[in-house]
């Protein structure tokens, strides 16, 4: 991980969707080495919150700051530092797993093909590298998405329901990845319905309707 400790702070976020006040003043902070586990019932705005943190959704009120600076001002730098997995794995069905990685990770950093293969291997889908994403199972697609996050070498992970469709081994692998990531000074925001049993202490936040 690259150098200086970073912090992410979410300050009094309000989001309206039509007449619905989805996020009502959410605030929290995460620093290098910390993991925030966000949970809550359906429809409480967990995905919306992650999209705000990404910068995809502009809140009506409040701001997201990366090391003290509003993300609008440092957009390129901030985006280079983050990896986001939405609840879809975001793979092109007609491209192979390897090509999917090449065209998404390749936009963030120059990455040799061998490293991408190794990452796929690490995530247990090395055998699928040359298969089009169309023929992969839902769990395998998840693993490819995990490989994408790893290969981006991002400092900040934003994961939306990453355990969906993963088998026991896959979940264990993901937990290990999160452990290593935060152990090396990374930051993570994880939206999940299950408990995250990590050795490290984690932050937890519940969103209510």
């Amino acid at each position: 991980m690259n150098g200086a400790p970073r912090s992410l702070s979410i300050e009094d976020i309000h989001v309206w969707r039509g007449d619905r006040h989805v996020l009502r003043g959410v605030s929290f902070g995460v620093e290098s080495g910390q993991l925030m586990h966000i949970w809550g019932a359906n429809g409480t705005g967990k995905t919306t919150l992650l999209r705000v943190v990404c910068g995809l959704l502009r809140p009506e009120q409040g701001r997201v700051a990366w090391s003290g600076q509003a993300i609008d001002g440092v957009r390129a730098e901030y985006q280079a530092a983050l990896a986001y997995v939405s609840h879809e794995p975001a793979l092109k069905a007609d491209l192979t797993a390897l090509e999917n990685l090449r065209y998404s990770v390749g936009l963030k950093r120059r990455v040799p093909e061998a490293e991408l293969r190794a990452t796929l291997e690490h995530c247990g889908v090395g055998a699928c590298a040359e298969l089009p994403a169309r023929v992969l199972s839902a769990g395998q697609r998840r693993r490819v998405a995990m490989a994408r996050v790893l290969a981006m070498r991002a400092l900040l992970w934003l994961l939306d329901e990453p355990f969906t469709n993963l088998d026991a081994a896959g979940s264990a692998l993901l937990l290990r990845m999160l452990e290593e990531h935060t152990g090396q000074g990374g930051l993570a925001l994880v939206v999940a319905h299950r408990e995250l049993d990590l050795q490290r202490p984690i932050l937890r936040m519940e969103l209510c309707a």
Binding site: W16, R17, G18, D19, H21
Partner: protein, 244 residues
Amino acid sequence: MWTWFYRLASPPHVYRTAAALAPWFLALAAAMIGYGLIDGLVFAPPDYQQGDAFRIIYVHAPSAWLSLFAYTTMAVAGAIALIWRIKVGFAVAAAAAPIGASFTLAALVTGSLWGRPMWGTYWAWDPRLTSELILLFLYFGVISLRKAFEDPARGDRAAALLGVVGVINVPIVHFSVTWWNSLHQGATLAKFGKPTMPGSMLWPLLAMLLGYMCFFGGVLCMRLRGEVLDRERQAVWVREALAP
């Protein structure tokens, strides 16, 4: 200076100001349109070439002028709202669109009614009328784009952007249509608005133009109130104003 500007553009302030201004605009409009119609229809002399048919200009020209003016208003308000995040701008843009579209339609109908005796046909692909028709299509695009979004805030911003793109396009359309027309028919068609118009014909026309502008101001204020109210339904000031 900026805080002052933002306060001026704050929804409750706009809502109240619009209510106060609307009757004045409409009263002025009624006076000027009334004078313009009577003077234009009764007292202005008939045109030496077009006879009394030229009197259609008293409703056609202000409509055509307003159709462009409303589009520009819509685009400028949308641009201001997008750039400086002044939400009232979206309300102004949303309010101006249907008004502008209705006057575009009026310009088209009156123009083709004038064309029948002058050209022998209701529709002659005259460059101005063709531009006006394309303007109507642009209005339709903006209005339907706004309605297509489930989230009104996104609809507002998308429509505002399309309005800005359209306003850049309007002069290009006009130029290309004129060029195309000169290619195909030459300047044989009779046209509205000769450069030298005697005062007796001109005054009522000017009165009509100003009257239409005032009318636009008045109706815009009225519609603006509805748009502001819709956007601020959840706001405290609306609830307080509506408290029984």
